[in-house]
Symmetry: C2
Subunit: 229 residues, 2 copies
């Protein structure tokens, strides 16, 4: 864990949170920023623990999930580079965060970070927008779970991941998470997820290169089935 104060500010450019900021804003941010590397499989945030930090994903993939006493699990989101994590308004985190693929994160003490958010209008506007995106994304997922069939929900996830990693080549979708993770994200079982993949393949919407690599053959139909609008 080394201070990022010595790092060039370009490392901040990965997130919407820091878009349009000048050196006078980035410098104090860098001053309170630390770096953290999380190996795959490790937990970053434990549900119900005190919310002391805000994170920005620089590299890797993480999964946000919620467990109930009865042992049921709801996956809330998959986090990619540029996403922020832990920006809750409550005292405690209401979810756990685990690392799916070795990740690198920027770590900010929550209180100091919020102070800077208050001080810099651009940062504040960004934070508000990013916070709004989280709610919007959750509402999308809510719509998918409430109104869509299994194969439509899977399209919803594929389209979402496709949009996220469109910076890469736009042909293949890489599924870092397991079938169980997908099932718990979509409110299904692994068997139903597997059959939903088979169905999309039969519909010639996708080609299943491997269990974790999906080639989209008809993006427009995929988007149509995925649409929550």
């Amino acid at each position: 864990m080394s201070s990022a104060a010595l790092k060039p500010p370009e490392t901040f450019f990965h997130s919407k949170l820091f878009r349009g900021l000048g050196h006078e804003e980035l410098a104090p941010l860098a001053a309170i920023c630390q770096r953290r590397r999380i190996p795959s499989g490790e937990q970053l945030i434990r549900q119900y623990s005190a919310a002391q930090h805000v994170y920005v994903v620089v590299a890797g993939t993480l999964m946000i999930e919620r467990l109930s006493r009865s042992g049921r699990r709801q996956v809330i989101a998959f986090s990619y580079p540029g996403d922020y994590i832990g920006f809750t308004n409550t005292e405690d985190y209401e979810y756990s965060v685990v690392c799916l693929r070795e990740a690198e994160l920027q770590v900010f003490p929550r209180r100091e970070f919020l102070t800077l958010v208050d001080r810099f209008p651009t940062l504040k506007a960004n934070a508000r927008q990013v916070g709004g995106n989280v709610l919007a994304q959750t509402l999308d997922q809510l719509f998918a779970l409430g109104q869509k069939k299994a194969h439509e929900r899977l399209c919803f996830l594929l389209a979402q991941i496709g949009r996220r990693q469109c910076g890469a080549h736009n042909a293949d979708i890489e599924l870092i998470m397991s079938r169980q993770d997908i099932a718990d994200y979509l409110g299904l079982t692994i068997e139903t997820v597997s059959r939903a993949f088979a169905r999309l393949k039969a519909m010639q919407l996708v080609e299943i290169v491997s269990a974790h690599r999906i080639r989209v053959l008809d993006r427009s139909v995929l988007e149509e089935l995925a649409s929550v609008q």
Copy 2:
């Protein structure tokens, strides 16, 4: 629509948003606050319209919903006195709001309201908490839709309404919304909702006084089935 500037500040006390505020904070709030009465059935917010106002419910009940192009509907929340509405971080509302029971609202111009939020730390803390509650509530609903069976989802709604109106007598739950509204909130059909009621009755958890009045007979079991923790 009359300005609330002339009204006594007690009318503000209904919402968490205004808890702990002194006169120096309430006065400028009152200065930008207007009152609005909405008749039952009328629309307060149209999906995708520009987010220009923030509302606080003083009386009545409203329903927040989202419609897709394909005609499917997801009900997102039912709003009771003390709740705020429209406090989005995006440019446009991503949902519609309709009135279920004649409502009275405080109306604040969004921009001016946010300026005051910035100026007053207590108000800011309150706004943050309330905003956090919305996300928390949406995550609860997400868990219910993803992980729970029909009768458990119904318990989730009943427990939620029970908590909201517990200021009243704690015996009966009044359901202002229709069975279709409940169905679209829980991601079910009206028939399944009806059968879920019958099941809870058979389990002796509730008594169905009338279609819109439910007597809870065993709160602890109801809460257990409703629990998302």
